[in-house]
């Protein structure tokens, strides 16, 4: 089976790509984002039958607003846990590579070069670029979520505590906050439920599902083929052995599959419903 070979190659050595902390944080991010989308979209398209149905199923619009705020709190927690870990790594552990370098999420000059080369490769005008630890579209994915959380989060809290913010912010700002919150959220939902899902499920080397975010482990073959620059760097540094780990256990792979597919199904359903609603607006 293609998926079996991609996610489990017993003959291969395995290396740790994603730490447990980040996997857990991604789990929290995933749960809270899905919760926010499932409660927020019925609020945004509240005049549609499916929105009313979803709201009733959860105990009415008052109840879904309560759940929405609860998930918002969880996502905020997730946001700050991430910021804290970045600062811990950079300033306490002294790993400045978090902010700049080949292992950093910050766009590097080489990312722009790789993007151009990637497009040349699309049209058969050159070889496939040698990607490193993070590809340019993975960085875009990361920053899109980062940007989205900041924008949607701030506007959300302004509306949540409107009487407090209303005491010093001008009134017209509230119209903009509702608009930005609703539209930026729609963009976020569509981005995650199409682009992010396609990135980790539909790219040929990932199909039907990349389990790395659940197992955290990458086979030597995957590392060498998908991230040749990183592999090379690790080999030269001689640090490959330090990230060596066991092959992903069956329970973890199955856990990832169950969670992954449930989230994809829910996500596609929400994408379909909101797309139809948007086109009818």
């Amino acid at each position: 089976m293609e998926s079996e070979r991609q996610n489990f190659e017993p003959a291969q050595r395995y290396y740790l790509r994603i730490h447990l902390y980040h996997r857990l944080l991604h789990g929290l991010l995933m749960a809270s984002f899905l919760g926010l989308a499932a409660t927020g979209m019925p609020l945004r398209f509240s005049d549609l039958a499916w929105a009313v149905g979803v709201a009733h199923a959860m105990g009415g619009f008052g109840a879904i607003l309560f759940f929405h705020k609860s998930f918002a709190f969880l996502l905020t927690l997730c946001f700050f846990l991430h910021i804290a870990s970045v600062f811990y790594l950079a300033f306490i552990r002294g790993e400045v590579g978090v902010f700049w370098g080949s292992a950093s999420m910050v766009p590097q000059p080489r990312d722009f070069v790789e993007m151009l080369r990637h497009f040349r490769w699309f049209f058969g005008m050159g070889p496939k670029p040698q990607f490193g630890r993070f590809t340019y579209w993975e960085k875009f994915d990361y920053w899109a979520v980062f940007w989205g959380m900041a924008i949607i989060g701030i506007t959300g809290y302004v509306m949540w505590f409107s009487s407090f913010f209303g005491s010093f912010l001008p009134g017209w700002l509230f119209n903009i906050t509702l608009l930005i919150h609703a539209d930026e959220a729609l963009l976020a939902v569509w981005f995650i439920f199409t682009i992010h899902f396609f990135n980790s499920h539909f790219r040929p080397e990932k199909f039907p599902m990349d389990l790395v975010i659940f197992t955290g482990r990458l086979s030597e073959r995957q590392l060498r083929e998908e991230r040749p620059a990183e592999y090379q760097e690790l080999l030269e540094e001689g640090s490959l052995e330090s990230i060596r780990t066991d092959s992903p256990p069956l329970w973890l792979r199955n856990f990832g599959r169950i969670i992954g597919f449930s989230v994809v199904v829910t996500g596609f359903l929400l994408f379909g419903l909101t797309l139809l609603a948007f086109l009818r607006e």
Partner: protein, 361 residues
């Protein structure tokens, strides 16, 4: 009604005449009563006596005089006989009935109307007036209190008659209504486009306007006229008022509450909270609560700490455009372009990637 017979004092030349003779003579004597049936004329041989009255146990007096002209002019004049409503009195002398007071007398005939007007009778059972009656408040109006008894006329002719009927009990509300933009044009200019009480409150199945569900129905109630293109064009009023309201915080919240089968809360502003209820004024009226200078006072009814620039959160029912609320308009426009651009652009990158892999195979 033997006791009444004693009080029956003969008047004029009609006094000693035989009942049979009267039966033949009456049509000639009372030309106005031509349209009433002979049976009615038979009863009128006694009940056209203005001094005929009944003294009740409470000491109150009930006149038993029936003005034949007003009955003949009533909607029932050519249709009903006395016994159609007074079914209990078909013989002479009348059977003895005793009533404690006037209200009990009226209540005794309460169900007379339902024989023909069953639909309206049934509707009234859902109404607030019946509800207070069933709780024992005998002041609640019965059919005849609004419609009259022998002089029943079409209730809406002229239209203002409806509101005047309600005003007999609801004087303060009527006073406010008469000064409102709706009341003024109807009562002073006779403009029948303006609503009367029953247009908003209905007539027989009047619900308690203090309930959450009635509050939440207010926008659709006002919208019945205020989204009518033809009607609003006559007065240069916008028909976007409902749509723009529903898109705003208050409107959205009201929709949320309304979608619940039993609204638990109605804590959101509906039309009447800002514009006023019975005392509603034209938005151009300087005294209007929603006039820009007055608006912050309206906001403070619910948002006590509202600052002077708080009302700017409200777009005054305008649809965002480059002229009105340009910032809202351009932010919206930005997202309408930005969202498809980002999604389609990134999708293209993925498709190109897949395409290249397929081509290379």
């Amino acid at each position: 009604m033997t006791m009444d017979a004693e009080k029956h004092r003969p008047v004029g030349w009609l006094a000693g005449a035989l009942v049979g003779a009267l039966f033949l003579l009456l049509p000639a004597i009372l030309p106005a009563a031509e349209s009433v049936s002979p049976e009615v004329q038979f009863c009128l041989s006694c009940h056209s006596n203005k001094t005929l009255e009944l003294v009740l146990k409470s000491g109150e007096k009930r006149s038993l005089y029936v003005d034949v002209d007003s009955f003949a002019r009533s909607v029932h004049g050519d249709k009903l006989r006395c016994t159609d409503c007074h079914g209990d009195i078909s013989t002479f002398p009348h059977p003895t009935r005793s009533f404690k007071n006037l209200r009990e007398f009226t209540l005794a005939y309460y169900e007379s109307c339902k024989g023909c007007h069953f639909d309206n009778y049934t509707k009234s059972l859902d109404g607030v007036h019946y509800s207070i009656l069933s709780k024992g408040d005998l002041r609640a109006p019965l059919c005849v209190d609004c419609h009259g008894a022998h002089d029943v006329a079409r209730p809406g002719v002229p239209k203002s008659r409806i509101s005047r009927t309600c005003s007999r009990c609801h004087q303060e509300v009527y006073r406010q209504y008469a000064g409102s933009v709706h009341g003024k044009v109807l009562l002073q200019d006779g403009n029948v486009d303006a609503p009367v009480c029953a247009d908003c409150h209905r007539s027989h199945d009047i619900v308690d306007p203090r309930t959450a569900s009635f509050r939440l129905r207010t926008p659709e109630l006002c919208a019945r006229c205020h989204t009518d293109e033809k009607l609003m064009k006559k007065y240069g009023l916008s028909t976007k008022v409902l749509q723009t309201y529903l898109r705003d915080f208050h409107g959205m919240t009201s929709s949320f509450h309304k979608s619940e089968q039993i609204p638990r809360s109605a804590v959101t502003a509906v039309c009447t909270d800002c514009h006023g209820v019975h005392d509603i004024l034209a938005v151009k009226d300087p005294r209007s609560a929603v006039m820009k200078v007055n608006l912050v006072k309206v906001c403070r009814k619910c948002h006590p700490n509202a600052t002077e620039n708080f009302p700017a959160a409200w777009l005054s029912h305008y649809e965002p455009s480059p002229d009105k609320a340009p910032l809202v308009y351009y932010v919206k426009l930005f997202y309408q372009i930005f969202i498809p651009f980002v999604i389609l652009g990134l999708l293209l990158q993925i498709l190109l990637h897949v395409w290249r892999v397929v081509v290379n195979r």
